[in-house]
């Protein structure tokens, strides 16, 4: 495990650029780049050393390159003061970054057919995944969706890296009108997909998981739960997840995830503490059995 532990570094910004409706920052971060596996993320401090913004912002790693000893690129949309500050960074500014964090996407041992589904800039972590799968001889199909054309991320790269790339927009301004799940079933059938990988908002992940279940294929989802620290100490990014023992725990997206098996995430109960979750109000320990050590979170 120690080889994969995250590092904290002061990373010089290499480039800040506009990509479709998003901003992309590339930093020089060799320690993070060399440890990175697809699906992992970074947690970035915003606002400078004396910042009044105490919570780190978590971003999926979109790309790593060997230049300058190792660079890392991440993608974001300006949604508040923190991301606005990030968008104003310029080349050679320093960013306090921790990474790589979280569990990566598990990769299949065999060269199987994989369909990757992304919503908005949730597509970002799918590109390094696509490359990793291709290196293993997997077939990769992409389904990317967004509200409208401007928010579909990485259309050109998608066509290059994937066997097929399908796009959906809510307003029909690009690709198929509708949601990713409206197109996904057909892609799974045409490509004879063996596994689904998805990243995007919770409602999308829930629909994708349901669709994969109907096609009887496994699905790995990467959740975009809001995080405050990224390192597992703040306990804010919890989602109810069923463990291998059938017990639901409030799992931390940052260290237990962000990648989970789709059918393990209790999407309908996100934002609540399910009554049967370990340690939920009214939950009672079953003391009369020789139970293995159990824990919450």
């Amino acid at each position: 495990m120690n080889d994969f532990r995250p590092v904290q570094m002061s990373s010089p910004v290499l480039t800040v650029r506009q990509v479709d409706a998003y901003h992309a920052i590339t930093v020089v971060a060799p320690g993070i780049a060399e440890r990175f596996r697809s699906g992992q993320f970074i947690a970035v401090a915003v606002g400078g050393e004396q910042s009044s913004m105490l919570l780190r912002r978590a971003f999926a790693i979109h790309d790593v390159k060997p230049d300058y000893g190792g660079t890392v690129e991440f993608l974001f949309a300006v949604r508040g003061r923190g991301t606005a500050w990030l968008a104003e960074r310029r080349s050679r500014d320093l960013l306090d970054i921790i990474g790589p964090l979280g569990k990566p996407f598990p990769l299949p041992r065999d060269p199987v057919n994989c369909v990757l589904v992304g919503g908005g800039y949730g597509s970002a972590p799918l590109f390094p995944l696509a490359h990793a799968l291709r290196r293993r001889g997997c077939r990769v199909d992409l389904v990317l969706g967004a509200a409208s054309a401007g928010q579909v991320f990485g259309a050109i790269t998608a066509r290059r890296v994937a066997e097929t790339a399908t796009f959906t927009t809510d307003d029909g301004s690009f690709g198929v009108r509708g949601r990713v799940t409206d197109a996904l079933g057909q892609v799974i059938e045409d490509a004879r997909s063996d596994v689904v990988y998805a990243c995007g908002p919770m409602p999308m992940l829930r629909e994708v998981t349901a669709l994969a279940a109907r096609h009887d294929i496994p699905v790995q989802v990467s959740v975009e739960e809001t995080m405050a620290c990224g390192t597992g100490v703040c306990m804010s990014c919890v989602v109810p997840v069923v463990g291998g023992d059938g017990i639901t725990r409030m799992a931390r997206s940052c260290v237990d995830g962000p990648v989970f098996r789709g059918e393990r995430v209790r999407f309908d109960d996100v934002g609540t503490i399910p009554f049967d979750a370990l340690g939920a109000p009214g939950w009672k320990a079953r003391g009369d059995e020789e139970s293995p050590v159990r824990e919450a979170g």
Partner: protein, 315 residues
């Protein structure tokens, strides 16, 4: 000159005065990825309860100016897992393990103290009094001196005599010095202050409380002046009682402020979320601040702000 950083809070001896604040260091493992946890004075665990606890629904945390609102609800694995897994791990890493405990009534606190006393290596028990009292509709023990005293008395009675018991106080009380006095009379060997300050934020887009359920606990540099006043006033009233100061400590200078106000040690909390290496950085900066001021022993500074102007602090 390398300053002597050792401090003594009653029976609690520490190699240096910087520790983690309860609930901000996970199980210790998370931070050990970033620094050697044996280097700091102590690791204060998140509050341990008798049973596993799922905590509160998300969103649990919201950012506020120089602060953070939280309502995590004491999510944790329970004492069983803590004793089997977390405590032995902390000790194996050479950390001084101070254990925060929380319960629904004096009986639960007493049981926790008893279980911890049977385990080797517990350096200190910190009594989290900001936990809902099940017998009184969830009112916090810390908000009622009598209830707080009952809990402290129960813990002190069950805890091994050589394990110091610290009561953690909430600032949201009309008479903090009175509460501090009551806790000490009930047997607390020292005080930890302050816990979070009640606060709230509303998300103007969703038009809902930013933290599920409404108000939460405010922490971070935003509450540092409040915390400092609490430490200062309690130290003035009870100068012999050891105090662990906390509330918005982010830098070595912040830690120094608390020491000068009367804290014998300082805990770093929310700053850890921002910087997982915050504890060792604060320690380094504190050491540097001592060097710059020609102070040889950090212990000589404790409460120095109370002394007459010009009184010597070097020792």
């Amino acid at each position: 000159m390398i300053p002597d950083l050792r401090v003594r809070l009653g029976e609690l001896e520490l190699v240096n005065p910087v520790m983690t604040a309860a609930g901000c260091a996970g199980s210790g493992r998370e931070l050990a990825q970033f620094f050697d946890i044996a280097r700091i004075g102590a690791v204060v665990t998140k509050s341990v309860m008798l049973e596993p606890r799922a905590g509160r629904p998300a969103p649990r945390i919201a950012e506020t100016p120089s602060g953070m609102l939280s309502a995590v609800g004491l999510q944790g694995p329970g004492i069983e897992v803590f004793l089997q897994r977390d405590l032995p791990w902390l000790l194996s890493r050479g950390a001084r393990a101070a254990v925060s405990v929380a319960g629904g009534g004096p009986g639960e606190y007493a049981e926790l103290a008893r279980r911890l006393s049977e385990a080797p290596g517990v350096a200190m028990i910190e009594v989290n009094l900001s936990s809902p009292d099940l017998a009184r509709r969830g009112r916090h023990f810390a908000h009622d001196p009598e209830a707080a005293a009952r809990v402290v008395r129960a813990v002190r009675a069950e805890a091994r005599p050589d394990i110091p018991v610290f009561a953690k106080l909430s600032p949201d009380v009309p008479d903090l010095v009175g509460l501090a006095r009551v806790c000490v009379e009930a047997g607390a060997d020292g005080l930890a202050m302050i816990n979070t300050v009640r606060g709230m934020a509303i998300d103007v887009d969703t038009m809902r409380p930013a933290v599920a359920g409404g108000p939460g606990g405010l922490s971070g540099p935003a509450i540092r002046p409040i915390a400092l006043a609490c430490v200062y006033e309690v130290h003035a009233a009870l100068p012999e009682v050891p105090v662990i100061g906390m509330g918005g400590v982010r830098t070595g200078a912040d830690a120094l402020e608390f020491l000068l106000a009367g804290a014998g040690a300082v805990a770093v909390g929310t700053a850890i979320f921002h910087d997982p290496s915050a504890c060792v950085r604060v320690l380094r900066e504190l050491e540097q601040a001592l060097v710059e001021r020609g102070v040889e022993r950090v212990a000589s500074l404790v409460g120095a702000a109370h002394r007459a102007p010009g009184a010597a602090v070097r020792g």
